[in-house]
């Protein structure tokens, strides 16, 4: 032992630069090189106009707002239980998919376009209620009995619950894509400061912003929100203050579920279809957002979601087009998950949060 330590002291530089470190530095360098080279290339080509860049950013923000709303559920549950609720993507899917069966008759009867705002609120309410119900049910059945089990166990049941929900909804609603009805009101563009912005994206971005603001105020200002923060810090101390910890945990799942349900409707507005598997990719993207912002940190999840959305939307054109890659937009998931890997390696605590592994269990 002693001699090894002494060796480390004698050659600190040599010992520090292990193979893994060298590889990581090469990885960093490669990413930076690709980004810089691609960006210079793209800007020299001048293929995109200023307006197109604005479009990319706005689309990214709208998409990011959806990620952020889903990410809130991951981050709040992590904050309170130190576990990743991998069934959260399915919570998101369940609300949007169920609300389709309200949206379709509304559209068929013409109500949807006669009262678009009312219809949208109704759909959001239906989706939020269903998603909340599913989230609370998953907590009750799959997580609560395992509250005192090792941390790997609820992770496994989370994956099980995720598959269960996917195939349960496939059995319930069928395996095909369902085309969501479109709102006439949200077609076309609005002119904002002389720039045309797709109405759908404006609506999505505004709704996401309002919901995030409301949720943040709820957590920061209400008694229940404060109790959620207290429970996430110290469950026993919270119980000693008269807080019903189980009830607060259920409420956390419910609030996260409601946000995911609302996000589901916004997603359906943008992509205009639903499917039993639709929760998987947005779920993982939202998880990425939560990690990016710092898991357990609510403003972090919002920031992470918006950041991921923008990078994913601007990135392919900015970094990849200049490298001569054909159809760079198909590689947007590569950008997202490269970011996840890089955050986990280089800054596990995320932009605003604490270190994932160091957080007390």
């Amino acid at each position: 032992m002693g001699s090894v330590a002494a060796g480390a002291v004698r050659h600190p530089v040599v010992r520090r630069l292990s193979f893994v470190d060298a590889f990581l530095w090469a990885f960093r360098l490669a990413v930076v090189l690709v980004v810089v080279w691609g960006t210079v290339g793209t800007l020299r080509l001048g293929r995109y106009t200023g307006e197109q860049w604005v479009d990319f950013v706005v689309f990214g923000l709208a998409q990011g707002g959806i990620y952020a709303l889903i990410a809130l559920g991951y981050t709040m549950v992590y904050g309170i239980l130190r576990m990743i609720n991998f069934a959260h993507g399915e919570v998101f899917m369940s609300g949007a998919y169920t609300a389709y069966f309200v949206a379709a008759p509304l559209a068929a009867s013409g109500f949807l376009n006669r009262h678009p705002i009312l219809s949208l609120l109704l759909l959001v309410a239906v989706a939020a209620v269903v998603s909340t119900g599913v989230a609370v049910l998953v907590e009750r059945v799959a997580y609560r009995p395992l509250r005192r089990a090792p941390r790997l166990v609820p992770l496994i049941t989370a994956i099980g619950a995720s598959f269960f929900l996917q195939y349960a909804f496939r059995g319930l609603y069928g395996s095909g894509f369902k085309a969501y009805p479109e709102f006439e009101l949200f077609k076309g563009e609005w002119q904002v400061l002389g720039i045309g912005i797709l109405r759908t994206q404006a609506v999505v971005l505004a709704s996401a912003a309002v919901l995030m603001f409301a949720l943040y105020q709820f957590v920061m200002r209400t008694k229940v929100g404060k109790a959620m923060r207290a429970v996430s810090e110290d469950k026993d101390a919270a119980a000693l203050m008269g807080i019903d910890v189980d009830r607060i945990i259920v409420l956390t799942f419910a609030v996260g579920g409601a946000a995911a349900g609302a996000a589901g409707i916004l997603y359906a507005l943008v992509f205009k279809q639903v499917h039993f598997f639709m929760g998987f990719v947005p779920g993982i993207k939202a998880f990425t957002s939560a990690v990016l912002g710092g898991i357990g940190n609510i403003p972090g999840a919002m920031l992470g979601g918006l950041f991921l959305g923008v990078v994913e939307s601007v990135g392919p054109a900015l970094f990849l087009d200049g490298l001569g890659i054909v159809a760079p937009y198909q590689l947007k998931d590569v950008i997202a998950f490269t970011m996840l890997v890089m955050v986990l390696i280089f800054r596990p605590q995320g932009i605003l949060g604490e270190r994932l592994a160091a957080k007390r269990a």
Binding site: R229, A230, E233, A237, A238, A239, L240, M241, G242, I243
Partner: protein, 236 residues
């Protein structure tokens, strides 16, 4: 009838028999000290009363009502509130939010407002720092906050676990002054302490725990004079 009565409590951690038939009682208006070395079972006793631990045998009664199987948050509602060992304040919440959490079960906003003023009178430092994040307080201030937070529940019985732990002597004096003041205002106190000297000065009666059993009990002045207590806990 005693306000709080523990009878023949047996508590286990897995196979470890932590409390081996602890019986004690606290009368309304008293300060009762629970003394003993590390690992004697003092915190275990308080956590059993608070409902965090479930005894295998025995009973905890508040004015005759059994508290076993009552969940911790309901025990707080009934007026038995703990200031936990190591303070356990919510470090990321503000001082005021911590105090609000203490009043979580309350449904009388007017009474809560009065109690907030009472806590601020007792610990003026907390008022100065009401908007500050609690994790940035000093150790003494955190202990004041932990006590103030428990008082916000308007307890009938206050369980205090090592309130002097890790504090400078001057602060220990302050905390013990506060304990006496709280008691004068009508709150019954069960006080767990390693600082037997201070505890026996403020307490009316005391119990000495050793490896999960009550080995001595009696009025505080009598315990102060007891040769065994002197040798083991009072350094003389």
């Amino acid at each position: 009838m005693a306000l709080l009565e523990l009878e023949d409590l047996h508590v286990y951690y897995g196979n470890i028999h932590a409390l081996k038939g602890v019986s004690l009682h606290v009368e309304a208006g008293e300060i009762v000290a629970l003394l003993g070395a590390n690992g004697a079972g003092k915190s275990t006793t308080l956590n059993t009363v608070s409902g965090l631990l479930r005894p295998r045998r025995g009973s905890v009664r508040l004015e005759g009502d059994d508290l076993i199987r009552v969940p911790p948050h309901r025990i707080v509602e009934r007026g038995v509130v703990q200031v936990p060992e190591g303070r356990r304040i919510f470090g990321q919440l503000t001082v005021l939010e911590n105090l609000e959490m203490g009043a979580f079960t309350r449904t009388d906003p007017q009474g809560v407002k009065e109690d907030l003023e009472r806590v601020f009178t007792l610990f003026p430092r907390l008022k100065e720092r009401a908007g500050q994040v609690a994790g940035t307080l000093s150790g003494g201030e955190q202990q004041m906050l932990a006590i103030g937070r428990a008082l916000m529940a308007r307890p009938r019985v206050l369980l205090m676990d090592e309130p002097s732990m890790g504090l400078a002597p001057l602060l220990v004096e302050q905390i013990f002054d506060a304990i006496q003041e709280i008691n004068r205002q009508g709150t019954t106190i069960l006080l767990v302490e390693q600082n037997a000297y201070m505890a026996l000065q403020v307490a009316h009666r005391g119990y000495v725990l050793q490896t999960g059993q009550v080995v001595l009990s009696g009025p505080a002045e009598q315990l102060r004079e007891n040769p065994e207590v002197k040798r083991a806990y009072l350094g003389g």
